[in-house]
Amino acid sequence: MQRRRFLQGTGLLAAGQILPISLVELAFAEAGQNFAFAYISDSHIQHIKGSQFVRNWDRGLIRAVAETNLLSPKPDFIVFGGDLAQLGSKEELDHGAEMLSALKGKVHHVMGEHDYYLDLGEYWSRLFGPHYYSFDHKGVHFVVLNSILTDDDWIYRRWPTPQQRMAEMAGLDNPNGSPFMVGEKQRQWLKDDLAKLDRTTPLVVFSHSPLQKIYKGWNFWTEDAEEVQNLLKDFRKVTVLYGHVHQIQYNRIGAISFNSVMATAWPWPYPTAYAQAGEVHLPKLTVPMNRADPFFERDATGWQFIDMASGNVDLHYTLYENRSRVVRFNPQTGQPEDSVYQTESARMAPQNHY
């Protein structure tokens, strides 16, 4: 009747999977160039009233922050991948920012739709800075995109109140919703930003939505994904990291690797499990997560630390009440692969008892 034992063979050390304490030393010519960063995303801090917030979402973020602070050596920086708030309010963003302030290290923020559609990112920007930007770190070029924009008509002319606009964009399978996009202005900026770079520079792009088309109904989707991919495809080592989907996904399209990061709030099911979904393009490489156990509120949520030693992304998922997973870039096959479960024969059995 055992539901799932995340550690087989109790009493044994989970060798090789211990604290992510030592980073792989290779790849960059100079060892000093090796680095790792942490990635926390999708906390969906939700205001109830007064000083009350949804406790479950608070606990998820608090725990991820506390664990990130345990990393040794310390990550070079931390990325927050968007959807810090649930409905974009000042209260939510302030409360989230306060919890994030416990992080030891520089935090780079990515805009999520739940942060944006109330005031179009104005208050968020006062807390965290520009909506899109780039920076360089130890030889890697990082780009942060605001990928959750949509067309001006929907944003400016369709809704009587900002609150309704926010609520419409927050829903799944909402016929009143609108597909995400990076937009022409930002694509032009990206083109200019990348023009300065040598094509051998390792490139990492952070976006909230996947810069690929998976399932439109839940906006696991970016409308102008192909145009953005076109701007990235000539780089030798290029990775897109995205939140929003609250589940493990990874993919390779042409020369571009894609990796999702987990939510600290709740897991989403895979859209392939949704009978009414219609057309779903779940990335073929992805070995899905096993289903979360509803007894445990933190199950199938988590955070990740990312090892950049190879110039590609090795992504270590820290999953609560569940087996942690590592998705590494495999230089032989040229694609991201799960370090344990990639082959059909190595898959873990799905959870079938509650």
Partner: protein, 397 residues
């Protein structure tokens, strides 16, 4: 400690047999008596006891294990046996001690977990650092604050040379002299421990036996809190046919670690470093209070296990105060309040950052708390509640 067949039933069974079947009947009767002794009859509310294939139960092995369990010679002072901290008269704990006392009144860091129903656990010790009863039995002998032996040699020597033991090991394992090792010693102890069971409580008679009057109305209401608003059953599992009251998992419920929150990064780092250099986990967690509070993390080095401890059974809980891995909560009411506060002994205290999901304020009323405690009192098995001779008689004859 076992339910015997009532005499009238035995008589009726025997009467069904014709005189010429007397011998068969006698054999059957003999088996009927042997089954419970071999642990083959499951008390109400318990599944069959898992028996490892390489350590089958025999009556002689169980008796030998009991004798070893109670032998004070297996300690450096000659005064401490397994039964010192796992006293049959106290449901195999050392209630009312907060943390156990070993040799020379030295104290450890943890409240003695009961042996009762340990046979069903998938790992042993509060942090699960041992995978089996056989392995578990090796460690307290050598821990400096428990039985304090420098190594297992003194035990093996007594087992080989004491005439009663020599005879028993020969009978049970067919081994003598140098062939008797800690393997046989711990197999016998584990064999005995697999007979230390508790079912047949008023709750079992009510829930599994359909005996409506077995519980008081307050206890019935308390069970509804247990499976409902109290959310106890999420970890203290009750199933359709059995109730072990544990999920065999480890949870950070805000006991112990709440007090050392700001020190966790330093403590966790220092512990991992010491462990990498070969420090003994068993000794570290029982001799250093702060290291102890790292919980399951000390075993697995996983973030997810910080401050996590194994879900204990709730059987005989009325007999085993104080509670939690550190004995920090004096009464069942205190325990209920701790959970009601969402993982803090006092309302309003800060909970720790690593708190397990599912631990959250419950909003129980005083009446619900009273009922829940009343329900917990229904989990006492009769042979422990009013200890009968075999269950109570500890120590020497």
């Amino acid at each position: 400690m076992y339910t015997l067949f009532p005499p009238d039933l035995r008589a009726r069974i025997a009467a069904r047999f014709h005189r010429r079947h007397l011998i068969s009947a006698l054999i059957i009767l003999l088996l009927l008596f042997l089954w419970p002794a071999l642990g083959l009859v499951d008390p109400l509310g318990l599944p069959p006891v898992p028996i490892p294939p390489d350590n089958p139960q025999t009556e002689a092995k169980i008796a030998l294990g009991k004798k070893l369990f109670e032998d004070v010679r297996f300690s450096s002072t000659g005064k401490v046996s397994c039964a010192t901290c796992h006293d049959p008269a106290k449901s195999f704990t050392d209630s009312p001690l907060k943390v156990s006392e070993g040799i020379d009144k030295l104290t450890g860091t943890r409240n003695a977990p009961t042996v009762v129903n340990a046979a069903y656990l998938t790992s042993q010790f509060w942090d699960g650092r041992s995978p089996s009863l056989e392995d578990q039995a090796l460690h307290p002998f050598l821990n400096p604050v428990e039985m304090g032996l420098p190594n297992h040699d003194p035990i093996v020597k007594i087992a080989r040379t004491d005439p009663e033991y020599a005879k028993a090991f020969k009978e049970v394992f067919g081994k003598s002299g140098d062939q008797v090792t800690m393997k046989e010693v711990t197999q016998a102890i584990a064999g005995f421990e697999r007979t230390v069971l508790a079912g047949d409580s008023p709750f079992d008679r009510w829930y599994f036996g359909g005996e409506k009057s077995a519980l008081e109305p307050a206890q019935v209401r308390g069970f509804q809190v247990f499976v409902g608003q109290g959310r106890c059953v999420s970890c203290h599992v009750v199933e359709q046919t059995q109730a072990l009251f544990t999920d065999n998992r480890f949870h950070n419920i805000g006991v112990g670690i709440n007090a050392i929150q700001s020190q966790v990064p330093a403590l966790a780092g220092a512990f991992l470093e010491a462990k990498a250099k070969g420090a003994n986990v068993d000794i570290a967690v029982l001799t250093d209070k702060k290291t102890s509070e790292l919980g399951r993390f000390a075993v697995t080095s996983q973030f997810d296990d910080l401050g996590g401890f194994k879900t204990p059974t709730l059987r005989n809980i009325a007999l085993t105060a104080p509670y939690m891995h550190d004995g920090s909560l004096a009464s069942l009411r205190d325990v209920v309040n701790h959970y009601d506060n969402g993982g803090a002994a006092k309302a309003g205290n800060k909970v720790n950052d690593f708190l397990s999901g599912g631990i959250r304020p419950l909003g129980l009323s005083d009446a619900q708390k009273d009922d829940l405690v009343a329900f917990l009192l229904s989990l006492t098995s009769p042979q422990y509640a009013a200890p009968t001779q075999p269950a109570a008689a500890p120590k020497k004859k």
